[in-house]
Symmetry: C2
Subunit: 183 residues, 2 copies
């Protein structure tokens, strides 16, 4: 079982990249997290260039197609999804009939340094993924005040938050197993 991790932040010391790795450490035996690390190389989406897929977009398409499920960790910029993350999803969504996200199990988690834990960004990301055709786990994991909330392993110090992440991963894996069984 391969889970593709996508962090919506390009910052080197990103809380969300750390959170994603932390979540990866909670995966059961037989499941592993692979990080997509070329988000910053994806150019601005331009419909005129839709026919010539840029290399980083081709890499993202292939990584999603090769994964059983996708796990996104997103920060929140200006009460919404980061432009960088949305731009990547805009590319991947085309052409709509053959996007690798079609029917793909996906879940969204997120951390922010504010008091709200990136809930708007997570909600918008779930909406966008659903619109593209992914099968999205209906859970939200708000991690506010990320600087204090996350331990050195990238996992929330708070037990409840950690359990929420485990529950989300469990649902994501169940979805992926069901997809596999019916494929």
């Amino acid at each position: 079982m391969r889970i593709l991790g996508i962090s919506g932040s390009l910052r080197r010391e990103s809380h969300n990249t750390r959170l994603l790795r932390g979540a990866g450490s909670l995966l059961p035996d037989g499941a592993e997290l692979e990080m997509f690390d070329q988000l910053g190389a994806i150019p601005p989406f331009n419909e005129d260039e839709e026919q010539q897929t840029p290399p980083a977009v081709a890499a993202l398409n292939a990584a999603i197609a090769g994964a059983d499920a996708v796990l996104v960790a997103t920060p929140e910029y200006n009460a919404s999804i980061p432009g960088v993350l949305k731009n990547a999803l805009d590319w991947v969504s085309r052409p709509v009939q053959s996007t690798p996200l079609l029917g793909k199990p996906a879940a969204v988690i997120g951390a922010s340094t504010s008091l709200f834990g990136a809930v708007w960004a997570q909600a918008e990301t779930r909406k966008v993924l659903s619109t593209i055709g992914a099968r999205v786990v209906d859970r939200e994991i708000p991690i506010p005040q990320a600087e204090e909330a996350l331990g050195p392993d990238g996992l929330p110090l708070d037990d409840d938050a950690r359990e929420l992440i485990e529950a989300t991963l469990t649902e994501l894996i169940e979805l992926a197993q069901r997809e596999r069984a019916t494929a």
Copy 2:
């Protein structure tokens, strides 16, 4: 009175770029539309690079600072704001204390080839602009089925839609005049 026009689509024959020019032709004497044409040159936002403003971001900051108001025309990608447009706004929003959008009058219009006229993208763009601190005109101009809806001059063939654009521009200019008077 200078209105900065920002199209959320990079496509050469973009309906939204045409719509923006059409709206510009409706401006009263003494007000003119200037188009920002470097959106495609804005790199992915990365907090690590926030201190070294990229040239296209500096150009956008200067264009907004030099304008009395901002008029955004946005398509809708995957039921939300285009990543390209959001990424530009993410850059412009930093640092939060000195963004040129603070207190800046702004309005959002939009066209899509679907039946819904980019209403979700417009709503998200208004939310994002408000969050950054702009003074946003509370109006929505949905232009569905843009291919048939817009004339060669970029204006809606439908009189009601054209009147909605005029009403929006009037409100935007009033806001800008009030800002000027109190500045």
